[in-house]
């Protein structure tokens, strides 16, 4: 099979979709957080913690849905913690995010050893099984991935985020807090509370991404987020903090990951080079967009009060 045929196959499409779910969830989490004015590099840690929470609940109760709920709850809790530290405690968001990531990386390993006596992975979990769709062909994989409840939920969340952010009162408040917190406060918006809500909501969505990541592998592995939270954040920046475009950018990064998987099957040596691909692409995109934004050629700028504390 030629490279081109491999890249244009149903397998490639299926792999892209599969890889896209965690990216998109983390990206939406980033959009909610940053549009409210809170920089969020903690996405990486939330993916990890959400994934482990999902697997632990799944193992304990035997229900995949309980795991989903647990992942979202833990994600929201960590998001809330980050928001409280940043908004109430007035700590720099990068500092808090780094600390959250450190604690999540160490904490998930600690819990793996405490609960399952292994510092590398959890026991296997079933995840979601779509009935009647076995088989290893690309089309079967595509159908399985497309009908996975978490894939469908992610698609709904993209639409839901875009609509809520741009068409509802809550979304307007979130955007106001990210652009002009002083003005928002002057018209009676409780800025700290709105930020707390937005970052927690984003954390819950990001936690779902962690669950999807773990269910996809049918277990939790330590460090399994593997930089996806950071890539998702880059996607948010590239998209100009707009939900639909952020999701699209996340899918593009997922496609690069999928190329890596498909290429790796063809030639192992290309693996390392392909591993760099999403990051190089992000860097180049960052450059192109920064340049064009500098010339005023395109819209999509950071929320005006992003990363600023409120007085």
């Amino acid at each position: 099979m030629s490279f081109l045929a491999a890249v244009l196959s149903a397998t490639m499409l299926a792999q892209t979709l599969r890889m896209a779910v965690p990216y998109v969830c983390a990206g939406l989490g980033g959009v909610w957080s940053e549009r409210s004015g809170v920089v969020n590099i903690a996405l990486e840690g939330i993916l990890l913690a959400g994934g482990l929470a999902g697997v632990v609940a799944h193992v304990a109760t035997g229900s995949a849905w309980t795991g989903v709920a647990a992942g979202a709850i833990v994600g929201a809790a960590i998001g809330a913690l980050h928001a409280v530290i940043v908004v109430r405690g007035r700590v720099d968001a990068i500092v808090s995010g780094l600390a959250v990531n450190l604690a999540a990386a160490g904490g998930t390993r600690f819990l793996l050893r405490t609960l399952y006596d292994s510092s590398s992975n959890s026991p296997p979990v079933e995840g979601f099984r779509v009935a009647g769709l076995g088989g290893g062909s690309g089309v079967a994989l595509l159908a399985r991935t497309a009908l996975d409840p978490l894939t469908l939920a992610t698609a709904a969340l993209v639409a839901g985020t875009a609509w809520t952010m741009l068409r509802t009162r809550f979304g307007l408040r979130v955007r106001a807090c990210g652009e002009e917190p002083a003005a928002a406060a002057a018209v009676g918006v409780d800025v700290p509370r709105v930020r707390l809500a937005a970052v927690s909501l984003g954390g819950a969505i990001c936690g779902l991404g962690g669950v999807a990541l773990a269910y996809d592998q049918h277990q939790f592995q330590s460090g399994m987020s593997g930089g996806r939270g950071f890539i998702a954040l880059a996607a948010v920046v590239l998209s100009g903090w707009r939900p639909g475009r952020a999701a699209a950018a996340c899918v593009a990064f997922a496609a690069l990951d999928a190329v890596q998987i498909v290429v790796q099957d063809q030639a192992r040596a290309a693996g390392y080079a392909a591993q760099m691909l999403p990051y190089l692409a992000a860097l180049v995109a960052l450059w192109v967009i920064a340049r064009r934004r500098g010339q005023g050629a395109i819209a999509g700028r950071p929320p005006a009060a992003l990363g600023k504390a409120i007085d």
Binding site: I85, V95, A99, L102, A103, S119, A273, M276
Partner: protein, 350 residues
């Protein structure tokens, strides 16, 4: 001065208290006695010469990456890329060191390998520096990307001929390129620990960085740019160039950190060697509070935690110390913010 000291005390007390509390909770949750584990952690690190030597060894790259992060921080930049800069420099140092002629004397070999480390680290920081200074692209994102690219690039280079075939490590560096261990000074009690002359080197670099920031023209302008880029631009200070200089210099110092594990301990580079020191350096810089003595002390604290994790690993997962790092960072930052808010409040006479 008094206020600065009081701020430092508040933050230290908060950090240590939160750290102990978190340690006690985690150990208790794991089903061990907190006091016993804490005792073991202390006696295994500061309670014996080998432990002290190992703490100093772990603190060496942390001090350098801490200085690196601090240099960028002064310009208002977050260098999250120390991790990648260190890895690339480690590979460069080991490769050069292994390819020198076998009998190269130390006076020739050491300067060469010690020079290549900061060069490689600086080179890895050039892209984020240009992106930030010239195009305004956020350095946090670009340095994170460079970290991931470094991971893959180092793996690729090792796989494509820099490593001994079939392994993930480079050949040994020539004897002349090794940094002697401190036990060569006659400190026989440190026997067996990996602390080397990289430690005094790191302390000197920390002092030099502080002097450069305080006394040199470019260094002072870097600090001013960090305080207010708009004011600096109005005073015709070349803001973009100062930002780039700070980030590239930061990368150079982070690259130098690779010297401790590669030349002072292993004598070769393997994939993952020195990993974690880049992120650790961020914690060191945040706790060091812009003073070289603070940087040394916080490097020692995190070195103790790292070594302490290994000491207690048989009874409690060593990952507790990673969690502690996170807790301490937040506690100190929170205390800091409170002190700052209190000072500001008084200044504004509310």
């Amino acid at each position: 001065m008094i206020e600065r000291l009081r701020g430092a005390t508040t933050a230290t007390v908060a950090g240590v208290a939160a750290g102990w509390l978190a340690l006690a909770l985690l150990v208790w949750a794991y089903g061990e006695a907190p006091a016993a584990i804490a005792g073991q952690l202390l006696s295994g690190t500061w309670g014996m010469p080998y432990g002290i030597g190992q703490v100093l060894y772990k603190a060496t790259p942390l001090l350098l990456t801490g200085v690196a992060v601090e240099l960028a921080l002064r310009a208002g930049l977050f260098n999250i890329g120390a991790e990648g800069q260190l890895a690339v420099a480690g590979l460069a140092v080991a490769t050069l060191g292994a390819h020198l002629p076998r009998g190269t004397p130390a006076w020739l070999a050491l300067p060469a390998v010690l020079a290549i480390a900061p060069l490689a680290g600086a080179a890895w920081a050039v892209v984020p520096a240009i992106l930030r200074a010239r195009f305004g692209a956020h350095e946090v994102i670009s340095t994170i990307m460079m970290n991931r690219i470094a991971d893959a690039a180092v793996g690729l280079a090792l796989a494509r001929g820099l490593a001994i075939p079939g392994t993930v490590r480079t050949p040994d560096v020539v004897p002349g390129a090794r940094l002697p261990r401190l036990e060569a000074l006659g400190l026989t009690s440190l026997h067996g620990s990996a602390v080397s002359f990289a430690l005094p080197l790191a302390v000197v670099v920390a002092a030099l960085a502080a002097v450069w920031l305080a006394r040199s023209r470019v260094g002072r302008e870097v600090v001013l740019v960090g305080l207010s880029p708009t004011a600096c631009a109005a005073e015709r200070i070349p803001v973009a160039r100062r930002l780039a200089a700070a980030l590239v210099l930061s990368g150079a110092v982070a690259g130098l950190a690779a010297v401790a594990p590669v030349l002072g301990y292993k004598g070769y580079f393997e994939s993952g060697l020195g990993a974690g020191a880049g992120f650790g350096g961020i914690a060191v810089a945040l706790l060091g509070r812009g003073h070289p003595v603070g940087l040394v002390l916080s490097a020692l604290l995190f070195g103790t935690l790292e070594q302490g994790g290994l000491v207690i690993n048989a009874r409690v997962p060593m990952e507790v110390t990673t969690v502690l790092q996170g807790v301490i960072i937040v506690a100190v930052a929170l205390a800091d913010a409170r002190v700052r808010a209190a000072l500001l409040g008084r200044g504004r006479a509310r």
